[in-house]
């Protein structure tokens, strides 16, 4: 793997798409401001952590659209062949795409969000040091790790599907999520048949009802740490590896 080749691939991505990215940045800013206006206009309906909500919705919508453009060349056979024929290893192409759609994207997204948040707080007279969103408060930063996994799935979809890849990927992801959720529920029922499981989150916790009272059971200490490591690091790396394998096997 060559670092120079990766940097050249990153430069190529920006040179070829800087107009799209500039317009996209403007759209992102407008989208964030629009969401802030909505939550302010109907603040009685959106009480609580509105900034967190806007941050997550904006992150996943814009992140999905942006990550999907990394291999948009596959939407037409000519540009797809051109992408495959670029004199660089497939691993270098995947790594440059990951760096752009995670590191670069997150940096720009956070910057844009805080500008929009600052304007929102200033206009609504809510501005104070404490009112600015703190991503490290209440484990909110875990969404960055979930974004890594999400990014891997979107990249994978953009390599597998040639046409309408974003819609197909989102549908496939939703289907996968439903299947794993049912599988997790089925496993819990098999393991603890006496518990009346109300809901469950795979790799994390479940809620059961006993005499009308709901009780949450979650992983503690070492088990929780290992599960978090698997979800936050092992799974994203595994999905990115799959993106690389799929790109290697790609045929136009």
């Amino acid at each position: 793997m060559n670092i120079k080749a990766i940097s050249l691939l990153i430069k190529r991505q920006f040179r070829e798409n800087y107009k799209t990215y500039s317009i996209g940045l403007l759209v992102l800013f407008i989208l964030l401001m629009f969401m802030f206006i909505i939550v302010h206009q109907w603040q009685d309906s959106f009480s609580g952590a509105v900034q967190n909500g806007v941050f997550i919705i904006g992150l996943f919508i814009s992140g999905a659209v942006f990550s999907n453009t990394m291999f948009s060349e596959f939407s037409s056979p000519q540009s797809g062949m051109w992408l495959l024929s670029i004199p660089a290893k497939h691993s270098e192409k995947v790594i440059s795409s990951i760096l752009i759609s995670t590191g670069f994207f997150l940096f720009i997204y956070i910057l844009t969000f805080y500008i929009a948040d600052f304007i929102y707080l200033l206009v609504t007279n809510k501005f104070s040091f404490e009112s600015i969103l703190n991503p490290f408060k209440n484990n909110f930063h875990q969404f960055f790790f979930i974004y890594l996994l999400f990014n891997g799935l979107i990249l994978l979809g953009s390599v597998i599907f040639n046409k309408n890849s974003l819609i197909k990927t989102l549908l496939a992801t939703a289907l996968l999520f439903i299947v794993f959720n049912y599988l997790n529920g089925f496993m819990l029922e098999m393991l603890i048949p006496e518990a009346e499981v109300v809901s469950s989150i795979a790799f994390d916790s479940f809620l059961f009802s006993h005499q009308g009272e709901n009780t949450k059971v979650f992983l503690l200490e070492r088990a929780n740490l290992l599960s978090s490591l698997f979800i936050r690091f092992v799974l994203p790396v595994a999905i990115w590896t799959l993106v690389w394998l799929k790109l290697k096997e790609k045929e136009i």
Partner: protein, 226 residues
């Protein structure tokens, strides 16, 4: 078979295996819960001895402070991640954060207490931004310092002296029957005190700024006599 297909199969098997292992761990945690226990939704947290309590954080879930011979701290299972505590000198510092939960949620009957603290003797309680219910304290002196957007309810107390210091937009309310021999009341900023349900012999008020006092006719007359 393509390498990517083999990889997908292996990855799926790994995911299912990890899912199974985590569910076995959850099963073990489930069996640790005593279903007949009233406090099965709570986890007991150990702490060193203390006589001063310093609580700060969010006012989304009420915090109960109850006089009891058996000292204990119980934290709601679902809020355990939001609970941090440490003891310095003689003070137990509790940080109980929330996700900007609306304070009105805290007053709902369906909202359980986030923390339940059983403590026999407390000399001082410092509260910042949290919603607290202090009940049952009898025959002792108590210093109560309230700051930020905190809301405190004192329920069925019988104290020798109560030194109450209120700042910012903090609020205090006395509920049911409360008795205190000597009440020292220092209020600043936009703090609010509801003194309708407190019976006192002596009061020493130091009031400034835009504070608000809610009084019954009886309490008002007793303040005038003082």
């Amino acid at each position: 078979m393509k390498t990517s297909t083999i990889f997908i199969i292996v990855l799926s098997l790994v995911i299912i295996t990890v899912m199974y292992i985590t569910n076995v761990s959850l099963k073990n945690e489930y069996h640790k819960i005593d279903l007949s226990d009233t406090f099965k939704n709570y986890v007991s947290v150990k702490s060193d001895s203390y006589s001063v309590l310093d609580i700060s954080g969010s006012n989304g879930y009420p915090i109960e402070i109850i006089q009891n011979k058996n000292n204990d701290i119980k934290v709601l299972r679902t809020r355990l991640e939001h609970f941090k505590s440490n003891v310095k000198n003689d003070t137990l510092f509790i940080r109980f954060t929330g996700s900007n939960i609306s304070m009105s949620q805290s007053f709902l009957t369906t909202t359980p207490s986030g923390i339940i603290i059983y403590k026999n003797n407390l000399s001082s309680i410092h509260i910042t931004n949290t919603h607290n219910r202090i009940s049952g304290y009898q025959h002792q002196d108590l210093n109560l310092s309230l700051k930020g957007y905190s809301h405190t309810e004192l329920i069925n107390t019988d104290l020798n002296t109560l030194a109450l210091t209120m700042e910012n937009q903090s609020q205090i309310e006395f509920l049911n029957e409360n008795k205190v021999d000597s009440l020292s009341l220092k209020m600043t900023n936009e703090s609010v005190a509801n003194l309708e349900k407190i019976d006192f012999n002596k009061i020493h008020p130091v009031l400034s700024d835009s504070i608000t006092l809610v009084l019954s006719k009886d309490v008002f007359q007793r303040i005038l006599k003082n």
